[in-house]
């Protein structure tokens, strides 16, 4: 199934792009997707939040067709 993925801040820089459309297996969790993409990077140890369709979800949230996924690195607003 297809999901769109958004990257921000150091994740965007590491990935080299701000967003992309990815084909993923059914049953994959948002945390699983993050590990697939960033497991090899030192950035994998960073505390991450996950958003699906612009709401925060836990790492074990299961992805669905056409989900909008965002990985939320440590916030700096304010």
């Amino acid at each position: 199934m297809q999901v769109s993925v958004f990257y921000f801040a150091m994740l965007r820089e590491q990935r080299g792009r701000a967003d992309e459309s990815l084909h993923v297996e059914a049953g994959l969790t948002v945390g699983g997707l993050y590990e697939q993409i960033f497991a090899a990077g030192s950035i994998g140890a960073m505390s991450i939040m996950y958003a699906v369709n612009q709401s925060y979800v836990s790492a074990d949230h299961m992805l669905a067709e056409n989900d909008e996924v965002a990985f939320i690195p440590p916030l700096g607003g304010g």
Partner: protein
């Protein structure tokens, strides 16, 4: 008024959106770029956001605050992109009948913004740059 903006924040315009004759207290918080951090000279800040979600989260914070402090009026504006020294990165204006609620609601809003609104800050120094995380919240180093 809840907004992200690329422009210098017009503080008076933000505050005017919460003014009214009935207000007893108006409290305005500005977060301003600091000129040093850990001894390194900051040249400028760069903010980026997950735009739609950030605006939705700001609206949710405002709604939570109004629910908690009835009669509250609140405006939150956050800068995006390049922010120079001495310029406000965020302005939060509240008005309430009594000052207790103004201080509590303003503090609630800035604290909530820092832990749940998807906005990121890059500090640019003469000798490099770093993505700077807020202290506290679930993103505290080590947590």
């Amino acid at each position: 008024m809840i907004a992200l903006t690329q422009e210098v924040i017009d503080v008076d315009a933000v505050v005017d959106t919460v003014r009214r004759d009935a207000a007893g207290a108006v409290l305005v918080f500005e977060g301003v770029t600091r000129d040093t951090h850990d001894g390194r000279g900051v040249i400028r800040l760069e903010y980026e956001a997950y735009g739609q979600m950030a605006e939705a989260e700001l609206k949710a914070i405002a709604a939570d605050a109004v629910a908690q402090w009835p009669g509250l009026r609140i405006a939150i504006v956050h800068r995006m992109g390049l922010v120079g020294l001495g310029e406000a990165s965020v302005v939060i204006a509240v008005s309430t009948p009594h000052r207790d609620a103004a201080y509590s609601a303003s503090r609630f809003a800035i604290d909530a913004l820092k832990v749940r609104v998807p906005i990121w800050k890059k500090e640019v120094y003469a000798d490099g740059s770093v993505w700077k995380a807020n202290a506290g919240g679930i993103h505290e180093p080590g947590s």
